[in-house]
Each structure stands twice: as C-alpha cells, then as structure tokens.
C-alpha cells in the first residue's frame, strides 16, 4: 500500500518535472535564433528557470525512488537495479513512453508567436497549479512549487505582454498569433483532465484539483486575449495522452537531441 502511493507520488513528480524539462528544452532552441538579442536572452532565461524546476523535481523523484525498499527498474534502459538512481537517469535514460509531460509542451517551437502563446498558456496554468501545490502536504513538492512561483509570475507577465504586442500589432503579427491560437488551443484541455496519479495525489492532499483550475486559467487567458484583440476559440478536438506516456513523434525528436550525449557516453561526468 505504502509502495503504491509512493509510486504515484513519483509519477506525479515526474509529470511536473517532464512538463518543465520539455518546454525548457523547446524554448532553448531559440538560443542564437531569437528575433532580437534581448528576446533571445529572455526566452533562454525562461528555459533556464524551467530546467532548474525540472532538476528540483527529478532530484526529488530520485530520492523517493532510492528510498523504496525494493528497487524496480523504474528507469527504462538502466539494467543495473542495484545502483541508486539520479536526476540524470530520469532526464537521459527514459524513452518517450516513460515521459509524462502534456502534449502542448512537446510541439515544435514554431514561429515567435507560437512560442510566446504557448508560454502564456503554460505559465498561466503553472501559476494556478503551483499556487495550490505550495500548500501541498508533501513538503518538498510545496517547497519546489513555492520557489518556482516568483519565476513563473515573471514569465507570465513577460509572455502576456508579448501576446498583446503581437495581437495588437501589425496585420502580420496579428495573423500569426491567431494562427498560433488555432494550432495550440486543442492541446490546452489536457492540462485540466486529471489522470490517475493526479487524482490520487489530490485525494491524499499532496496534489491539486486541476479541473477546478480551468476557470481561473481561462479568466487569466481571456484578460490577455481581450487586451490583445484576440478571441478565445470555441471548443476544439482534444489532444491528450501525454500525461500517461502517449506522445507525438515530436517528443522522440527532442529526446534524440537531449539524450544523445549522455547515451553516447553514459560514464561521462559533468
């Protein structure tokens, strides 16, 4: 019984970590390619914050995994069950089905409009979620969320201002952000559709009720869209599955790049 609830806590922690790592990696693809130097620095700084959050969650997942009485091969590709796991095992040695991030974060970075819009949609969600997790009964989840909140507030403000600039900018910028909304909207529902580990964490007071976050999230997004002269789309086809490891091919592309060095030289120390 204890083991099962620890497993769910590990799954939940990995879900939070994977969201941050994969979006952090996507945003890092702008490094050296940003529209202007200042915004190149901005989006890569956001990457740094997200990857830092991911590391905090992975380190905690490793701690929980190592504390379990029986070590299973929780980490795919790692045959040595005697060795204790580290954050790197989760980031570099799991394959796509092991990742629990939402599909939204793995989509290609697209143009600046798409990247910026995704950041608003995700940061607004992360902010509402972490405000709840800050009160989690699990003290480490609460600490990581509390630490990240100030950074997230900054990300949300910066990206919201950009959506407004683009929406309320030129014909071209407006058209691009409208196209981005059209492409991403169907991926937003997954955030608010809980899977088993989320429900279990909610029941034991460690998680958050994601269904209830939707209303305040929508309110936040609507405020930004109103200011930008953009319309919230009507319901669309829902894309989901990422939380339970059913990913698009895009995640494989990220992992190929993200994991290549670590896998080519697993004994490397950095």
């Amino acid at each position: 019984m204890l083991n099962q609830s620890t497993n769910q806590l590990i799954n939940y922690t990995l879900h939070l970590a994977d969201n941050a790592l994969i979006l952090g990696h996507r945003n890092s693809e702008w490094c050296g390619h940003g529209p202007v130097l200042e915004q190149d620095i901005a989006i890569t700084n956001i990457s740094l914050d997200l990857i830092g959050q991911a590391r905090n969650f992975y380190q905690y997942a490793a701690e929980l995994t190592n504390a379990r009485p029986i070590r299973h091969t929780a980490v795919a590709g790692n045959g040595d069950v005697e060795r204790s796991v580290t954050e790197d095992d989760f980031a570099y040695f799991r394959d796509s089905p092991g990742f629990k991030n939402i599909l939204l974060v793995e989509l290609p970075k697209g143009d600046w409009a798409l990247t910026i819009l995704r950041q608003v949609l995700f940061s607004a969600y992360q902010k509402k979620l972490f405000e709840k997790l800050k009160e989690s009964k699990d003290v480490q989840i609460a600490a990581i969320a509390g630490k990240a909140l100030k950074e997230i507030t900054y990300h949300l403000r910066w990206s919201s201002e950009w959506v407004i600039r683009l929406g309320d900018g030129t014909e071209e910028s407006h058209a691009r952000i409208v196209k981005a909304i059209d492409e991403l909207w169907g991926y937003t529902s997954e955030m608010f559709l809980p899977v088993e580990y989320e429900l279990q964490m909610l029941n034991n007071g460690m998680g958050a009720d994601v269904i209830s976050l939707k209303e305040t999230w929508m309110q936040n997004v609507k405020e930004v869209f109103d200011e930008a002269g953009l319309a919230v789309p009507s319901a669309q086809l829902i894309h989901k599955g990422g939380k339970i490891g059913k990913h698009s091919e895009y995640l494989d592309d990220i992992l190929k790049e993200l994991q290549s060095v670590a896998r080519a030289n697993p004994a490397a120390i950095w």
Partner: protein
Amino acid sequence: MVAANKISVDTIWRILKDIPDPEVPVLSVLDLGIVRDVIIHKDTAEVIITPTYSGCPAMDVIRVNIKMALLENGFKDVKITTILSPAWTTDWMSEEGKQKLKSYGIAPPNPVQQVCNKDLFAAQEAVQCPQCNSYHTHRISEFGSTACKALFQCDDCKEPFDYFKCH
C-alpha cells in the same frame, strides 16, 4: 563541547565571508543571503544554502567551493544541504552587498518587490544608474546576463548597466 562547537560555527561563518559568488564575484555567498544556517553535528559541519533561482547554474560551483574552503581549513566531514523553502528573496542581500554591487557597476535591487506586480505593462520601477546616480533610466530587457539580472540603460550618461532585479 558546546564552547568548541560555537568556535567552529563562528569560524565557518568567517570562512564563508570570503567565498565569492562565481557569477557576481564582488559578492560573497553571505552578501547574497544564500547561506541559511551553519550547524555542527557530532563530527560533521553542515552548511545550509538556498538557490537564488531554481535554475541558477552557479549553485553547483558554490556547493563545491564551500566544501573545498572548509576542507582546506581543517574541517574533515563537510555536508552542504540545499533547501528551497523559504524561497530566497533579494531582501536577504546584505546592505554591504548592495553597496559592493553598486561600486561594481551593477544596480542593487530596489527595496520594493516589483516583480510581484503582475500588472501588464506596469509602470517601470525607477532604477538608479550605478555610474552617475541618475534616475533617468529605462529598461532594455527584463532578462539579462544571468537569471538574477535585468538590462537597463541610463538616459543621462547613456551607459547600459545590469540591474540585480527584485525577487
């Protein structure tokens, strides 16, 4: 034993005073406010630190540097513990640290936590130019050369400068 522990704790705080932040070397780890506690257990010296930002890449280096400095000073069993709560804030930066930053050419954080103002396009905070002390400055970028800084420029002396942003 209690007295010996007290001496060790004081010694460690003195050692920490000379360990610089690798990214802003004019500040010590104490100036930065990231050392939260020093504890002597039976045979172990424990230093408890907290990161400025979740992704601050300097933390790994800081951990190693603290450990090395204590080992060099004769402490045999050293443990560096990282805690995340309560979250670091620029309020913990020492006054001395703020002065050091300014003379180094980096504007120190304002006392008011402007980052918590989530209003979009909110009026920018008045940041004083560390070169000519003018308040006629403007923000060039909300993000700067490290996670903890934003980029500003002075409208009077025209110098661009880093601002250690409120957090």
